[in-house]
């Protein structure tokens, strides 16, 4: 936070003169950033590191370095504990939830941002109210519904439940973004002979990329991580998702810590990768879409 005197001619150097020669008042020093940040990085990274050490070091080793490196734990988890199947299931549920959430939220968000219609307020309030519904407590009625629909033990039950719980915030976020796109841009496209739909795809959609990335990755990560729905709606082992599989490795009487850690790495890799790619958009997406509503 240095003062740019060159760009501020009204702040003549003489006005700042008393300040020169000592540390600028209120400037944040280097150590003031790095000491707390270093401590916090330690708090963040030690748990991850612990998991990696246990996943990659041989059984029975007490070393704090994953050396000699071994992939035995991964072989156990991937093949014997069927994480290969869980991984595929989680991936399918995640991608399906991502697509459904994004498409439905895009349509609804556009309506909220661009149209004045009766019931608009009610729709907004209703969506906010859904945030207070305790997801964990909807298990019984949702289970009943899925039973009637014949979707118990189907991965679709997870996709639907995930999408529904992701929708309200996604929709509000996207509509905030669309509102930030000047309506004149679209109108120009209509004048040029585009229909609303073509105008939307040609003009608005490209500008929504940060919002779509944020919403889509939210949906994917949440669905990848969801535990309770997967635990309750699916009981056949070949339909398990990764968190359920992981919980079962925890539940054993004598926990195989190597397998637990390797399972953890399998569970972490996709979300951490997605997160690494999107985290810049995440902050942008939040600042443009949220709160301002």
């Amino acid at each position: 936070m240095t003062l740019q005197t060159a760009e501020r001619p009204h702040l003549a150097p003489s006005a700042l003169a008393p300040r020169t020669g000592r540390k600028e008042k209120g400037k944040v020093g280097r150590w003031e950033i790095w000491v707390p940040l270093g401590l916090y990085l330690l708090f963040t990274l030690v748990p991850f590191y612990w998991m990696l050490v246990f996943a990659f070091r041989p059984r029975g080793s007490a070393s704090l370095l994953p050396w000699p490196i071994t992939f035995d734990n991964f072989a156990t988890v991937w093949n014997d504990l069927s994480f290969a199947v869980f991984f595929k299931n989680s991936l399918m549920v995640g991608v399906a939830s991502l697509v459904m959430t994004t498409v439905v939220a895009l349509a609804g968000g556009y309506a909220l941002a661009r149209y004045e219609f009766r019931g608009r307020k009610l729709f907004m309030v209703g969506m906010l109210c859904t945030q207070f519904i305790p997801g964990a407590m909807m298990l019984i009625p949702l289970f009943e519904i899925f039973r009637v629909l014949g979707l118990v033990n189907s991965l679709w039950s997870l996709v639907i439940a995930e999408t529904v719980f992701q929708l309200p915030l996604s929709l509000i976020l996207i509509s905030g973004f669309i509102r930030n796109v000047p309506v004149e841009l679209e109108q120009a496209a209509w004048v040029d002979g585009c229909g609303r739909l073509r105008g939307f795809f040609a003009v608005v959609l490209p500008l929504l990329r940060p919002a779509l990335v944020a919403v889509g990755s939210f949906a994917f990560i949440h669905s990848w991580n969801n535990f309770l729905f997967a635990l309750m709606f699916v009981s056949e082992q070949e339909k398990f998702t990764v968190p359920v599989g992981l919980a079962y490795t925890l539940g054993e009487f004598s926990v195989d810590f190597g397998a637990l850690a390797a399972g953890g790495v399998v569970a972490a890799v996709p979300v951490v990768l997605v997160f690494a790619v999107i985290q810049r958009y995440l902050v942008q997406g939040m600042s443009a879409g949220a709160v301002k509503g």
């Binding site: 936070m1 003062l3 600028e24 209120g26 944040v28 280097r30 916090y40 990085l41 963040t44 990274l45 030690v46 612990w50 998991m51 246990f54 349509a107 309506a111 149209y115 004045e116 608009r120 859904t130 945030q131 207070f132 305790p134 997801g135 964990a136 407590m137 909807m138 298990l139 019984i140 009625p141 949702l142 009943e144 439940a161 999408t163 529904v164 929708l167 509102r179 209509w190 004048v191 609303r196 991580n225 969801n226 535990f227 309770l228 968190p243 919980a247 810590f257 637990l260 569970a267 972490a268 979300v271 951490v272 997160f275 690494a276 985290q279 902050v283 997406g285 939040m286 600042s287 949220a290």
Partner: protein
């Protein structure tokens, strides 16, 4: 947002579009009616019934009997509600404080900022079950940090934070903090970035100290974001069961049972859906009243 325009072509398009917004929101409305509103309504309906899958001969209308039982005959309801409040209060307060400090730090300009942000935010993406897996490794007396500290002679062997009724609470709090702080850091950083730099420059030219700038510029600007994020987080922490369910299972001896955990146990293990629904309804009412009161009392959206 009424779109007024002189262009007749556009006006015609807007007029014709009277049905369009309803078609656009229809999928969202149908999904939410079917899978949120209807289930919620059925929970309220069942809360007024005696409904036990294992004792079908008793089923029928029960009036407010379930709620009478809940208020006057069930110490576990009050205990789990009390624990929920303690859990949510401690968790959200600590997450907010650490998240705010973290957001302020990574909002400064320094070398390696991008990488530092990505790293400290990353536990946000980790699931409750995975958090449990990692922290079980860290807390276990034979695999955990304590064993290696004991090897160095810094503490006694055999510390098992998850086994002791006194330590289990803070052990769970720390694990949840690990993945909860980034939520606040991300949201508050997003809001911090919308504060104009000129405000700070003007204030520091006027000789305002860093503390004064924080109190008079940063905090008022962040107010709405803080209110909204703490509210969302309170509801989320109240409802979220993944971590406690897998880390402590609500134990030892119900010491870490939140209300949703209690409901899940009641409904799933004892098949007492009527009573479970009454508990759910109570939790929903508590959350809704709390949220409205919180937004009112905090004067959300009011210009300061």
């Amino acid at each position: 947002m009424a779109i007024t325009t002189a262009n007749p072509r556009i006006r015609r398009r807007l007029g014709r579009a009277a049905r369009t917004p309803y078609l656009l929101i229809a999928p969202a409305v149908i999904a939410m009616l079917g899978f949120l509103v209807y289930p919620m309504a059925s929970v309220i309906y069942y809360s007024l019934q005696t409904y036990n899958v294992t004792k079908p001969w008793d089923n029928g209308f029960a009036g407010l009997d379930n709620f009478r039982r809940l208020l006057f005959e069930d110490p576990l309801f009050w205990q789990s509600l009390g624990f929920s409040l303690k859990w949510v209060g401690v968790e959200v307060f600590l997450q907010l404080v650490f998240g705010l400090v973290l957001a302020l730090i990574v909002n400064e300009t320094f070398v390696g900022r991008g990488l530092a942000r990505a790293t400290v935010f990353s536990p946000w993406a980790v699931s409750g079950v995975l958090t449990t897996g990692i922290w079980i490794l860290l807390y276990n007396p034979t695999t955990g940090v304590s064993r290696y500290l004991a090897d160095l002679g810094l503490m006694q062997y055999g510390a098992a934070p998850l086994a002791g009724p006194d330590t289990v609470f803070w052990a769970a709090v720390l694990a949840e903090l690990w993945r909860g702080v980034p939520f606040f850091a991300i949201l508050l950083l997003a809001d911090l970035q919308s504060i104009s730099k000129e405000l700070y420059e003007a204030a520091s030219v006027d000789g305002a100290s860093r503390v004064r700038r924080f109190v008079h510029i940063t905090l008022p600007h962040l107010k709405d974001a803080i209110i909204l994020s703490t509210l969302l987080r309170c509801v989320w922490e109240f409802n979220n069961v993944d971590l406690l369910y897998t880390l402590t299972g609500g134990g030892p001896a119900h010491a870490t049972t939140t209300l949703p955990l209690y409901v899940a146990a009641k409904a799933v293990q004892s098949h007492d859906f009527g009573y479970g629904s009454a508990l759910t309804t109570a939790a929903f009412l508590i959350l809704t009243f709390f949220s409205i009161a919180y937004l009112r009392l905090s004067r959300f959206g009011a210009k300061s």
